[in-house]
């Protein structure tokens, strides 16, 4: 083993252990997925339950009030019927006094296209409006059918909703539920963004801390700056890789054993469609994580070498952070049309392929050949970026005070 490699490994070991030994690391690795699930679940749990909504009905058709009450009672709302002549102002006052949530005005021409209006303190709540809309539609259609003389059982048959489902496919892979595969792809893109950012920035902070704690002089007297940078990136990345692997395996297990898992929460598995998180997806995600991390960590290491304090990093890291954000913003463009030109181009460019390619693959937009080409481009770019970063790093690590300008940076790169 060459001395440079040996030293890089000693550095990597130190960086890895410094992170892996901290309680935070253990907590976030194990609880992270729970936190992410909680982030998705808690808002929906916090959404007010529309059951028990107090709604009063002013029916000027004379035929819709009763079926509406029946419909609303079925979904456990608390409807009441008022005289058709009740003025709006009275009801507005009752809303102000919190006596009711809202009221429904059914105009006399409701069956002939007149608009039925709901006004209430929950009028912007999606669940409330969807429920009302559905019940109003069914009730009005049923009443129209009755008026046209259609028999009850026929009527039920006519207004029964049509079954519909959208599936995501590229014509080769087995179709998966559209929304579900979108969610997995999306989650992958976000997790990759998050983890690459967190750990690449950790490399930068670690470099800056070596400068502020002045241990840098001891380190560069002891080993080559290149070994120091390589070891640091490998060590910090190792901690990240452990974390991402644990998360992906946890996700794969949950999805594979979803029936059992959901059963434990008393939910029938059949009702929930999840795409499979197969091991090829995990492998591809890890591959792009590793290379994408090296790519960005090199850049952030160079940024760290260019500044002398944590405060200074804010400005200098801006260009790198913006690059990452462009990738994140493009998530919808790629997921919207995984086989389109935008998706193809974005997943070839090394700045963004680490975030977007795993998602595109999950959505069936990329063939294995696409993956290999994209990985190859990323690999070559990473080597180039790492070399350039090592040059900046080598000179920058011992600089305190003045920050180099663009011209000076270019001069460093030529050495």
């Amino acid at each position: 083993m060459s001395p440079g490699l040996r030293n890089a490994l000693v550095i990597a070991r130190r960086e890895f252990l410094e992170r892996a030994r901290s309680r935070w690391f253990l907590a976030i690795t194990l609880l992270g997925p729970i936190g992410i699930v909680a982030m998705i679940l808690v808002p929906s749990l916090l959404t007010p339950n529309p059951a028990g909504t107090r709604v009063e009905i002013i029916d000027r058709t004379g035929v819709l009030a009763q079926p509406l009450v029946t419909g609303l009672t079925t979904v456990r709302w608390k409807p009441a019927v008022l005289a058709p002549s009740t003025p709006d102002a009275d009801e507005m006052a009752r809303i102000r006094d919190r006596k009711i949530n809202g009221f429904l005005i059914v105009p006399a021409d409701a069956l002939d296209g007149g608009t039925i209006i709901y006004r209430g303190d929950n009028g912007s709540n999606q669940t409330v409006t969807t429920t009302l809309h559905e019940i109003v539609r069914v009730v009005v259609q049923a009443e129209r059918g009755k008026r046209a003389g259609i028999a009850g059982d026929k009527l039920t048959e006519i207004i029964r909703p049509a079954a519909f489902e959208a599936q995501q496919t590229n014509g080769k892979a087995e179709a998966t539920a559209g929304v579900a595969s979108f969610l997995v792809g999306y989650a992958l893109a976000y997790i990759l963004f998050l983890v690459i950012t967190v750990y690449a920035v950790a490399v930068m902070r670690s470099v800056v801390q070596e400068k502020t704690s002045r241990v840098m002089e001891l380190m560069v007297a002891t080993i080559k700056p290149r070994s120091l940078m390589t070891g640091k990136i490998v060590g910090v990345g190792g901690a990240g890789l452990v974390q991402v692997s644990v998360w992906l395996v946890m996700a794969a297990l949950v999805i594979t054993y979803r029936d059992q898992v959901l059963g434990a929460f008393g939910v029938s598995g059949a009702a929930v469609t999840l795409p499979s998180l197969t091991f090829d997806v995990i492998g591809i995600a890890l591959g792009f994580f590793v290379l994408g991390y090296f790519f960005y960590a090199s850049m952030y290491a160079a940024v760290g070498a260019m500044v002398s304090s944590e405060q200074d990093t804010q400005q200098v890291q801006m260009p790198v952070t913006l690059l990452l954000l462009v990738g994140l913003v493009s998530v919808t463009a790629v997921s919207g049309d995984p086989r389109g030109v935008t998706a193809t181009v974005m997943t070839l460019i090394p700045f963004w392929s680490p975030l977007l390619m795993p998602m595109r693959y999950v959505l069936g937009g990329a063939t294995p050949v696409d993956i290999v080409i994209s990985l190859a481009i990323l690999l070559v770019s990473t080597v180039l970026i790492a070399r350039a970063a090592a040059k900046i790093y080598r000179i920058g690590v011992l600089m305190y005070g003045k920050r180099p300008g663009v011209q000076e940076l270019l001069r460093w790169l030529r050495y």
């Binding site: 001395p3 440079g4 130190r14 704690s213 241990v215 840098m216 003045k402």
Partner: protein
């Protein structure tokens, strides 16, 4: 046997500032060698080049058996940088062990030696504490251990006494003595002449990037003594003093007569003279005896390192110049 270190024609520029200007010196094995100079003289820059932190713009550095600065040399050099600094969140023992491992020790060997050093420096009870929990003085000791953990043949200490209290300064001197006794070499820089004088075998004085003189301290002092400063004790007898005044007034013998320096005065001298050029101490002594002066003391003054330093560097150069700590545009 080759020398521990040879430096030839070393030059380092930072922008337009020449930090080290054609400096050459040689450190034999087994000596304590001091690089002395005022602040900003180029001492640290020179030591950094020897440690392969900066690459010289010109000149040559040969370390131990013909090595260039770099990895192989680093395994045999110990370095206490002027910029003291450790990983604040690392445990004390881990920190020392870590540097030992990077300097070429196996992990097991590094661990054993760390334990020895912690005992030796009285830090054993702090082994499991984080570096940042230690006082500045204790952190200095840890830093010192990182320089010695791999038993280097050449120990380089940059301003080792800065920030040390008198007790720890003593501990440091003892350790330097111990290294010399073991036959290894110490190279240190300082501007504290009193500390240096107690330890050094050889010195190199540099100022404004240029070497002023180098060689064994004893030789340098002997040469400086040749400048002809003589401390005299003339007694209190009036006739004897009058005779002495006559001799000392002879411009062919004595160029200058002045009050003795404090140390000479304490030793019983009541005046000090500088010999005229061409005159020798023997001639003066003979003249004084012939004139019947009741001499109580006649001493050829060996100047202290401090005197030599001030004489050579001059008070003006002792004023710190712009420090080249921030080598903007520097290229390693």
């Amino acid at each position: 046997m080759s020398s521990a270190l040879a430096v030839r024609g070393l030059v380092k520029r930072f922008g337009n500032h020449v930090a080290v200007d054609d400096v050459s010196f040689e450190v034999p094995r087994g000596v304590v060698y001091g690089i002395l100079g005022p602040n900003g003289a180029g001492k640290s820059t020179t030591l950094r080049m020897i440690n392969d932190i900066f690459a010289p713009d010109a000149g040559e550095i040969i370390v131990l058996d013909g090595l260039a600065p770099g990895h192989a040399a680093a395994q045999r050099i110990g370095y206490l940088p002027e910029e003291r600094g450790l990983y604040p969140k690392m445990k004390v023992a881990d920190m020392i062990e870590f540097i030992g491992e990077l300097r070429g020790l196996s992990r097991g060997e590094a661990r054993r030696r760390t334990a020895t050093w912690l005992d030796r420096l009285g830090l054993a009870q702090w082994a499991g504490n984080k570096v940042q929990d230690l006082s500045k003085g204790m952190q200095q000791k840890v830093q010192f251990a990182t320089a010695l953990i791999h038993e280097p043949e050449l120990v380089i200490l940059d301003e080792p006494w800065s920030g040390l209290d008198p007790i720890n300064a003593e501990v440091l001197r003892d350790e330097v003595e111990a290294i010399r006794r073991s036959g290894r070499t110490v190279l240190f820089s300082t501007h504290q002449m009193e500390q240096a004088e107690k330890l050094v075998d050889q010195i190199c004085i540099i100022a404004r990037g240029k070497k002023l003189l180098d060689g064994p301290l004893a030789d340098i002092q002997r040469r400086a003594a040749g400048d002809g400063i003589i401390a005299l004790g003339l007694g209190s007898d009036a006739a004897s003093r009058a005779a002495a005044d006559a001799v000392l007034g002879d411009r062919a013998l004595v160029a200058e007569r002045r009050a003795p320096r404090a140390r000479a005065h304490a030793d019983g001298a009541d005046c000090e003279v500088k010999l005229a050029s061409g005159a020798s101490a023997q001639q003066l002594l003979a003249a004084l005896v012939a004139a019947g002066v009741g001499l109580q003391r006649f001493e050829v003054v060996v100047p202290t390192l401090h005197q030599i330093f001030v004489d050579r560097v001059g008070t003006s150069a002792a004023v710190a110049e712009r420090r080249p700590d921030a080598p903007s545009g520097a290229v390693a």
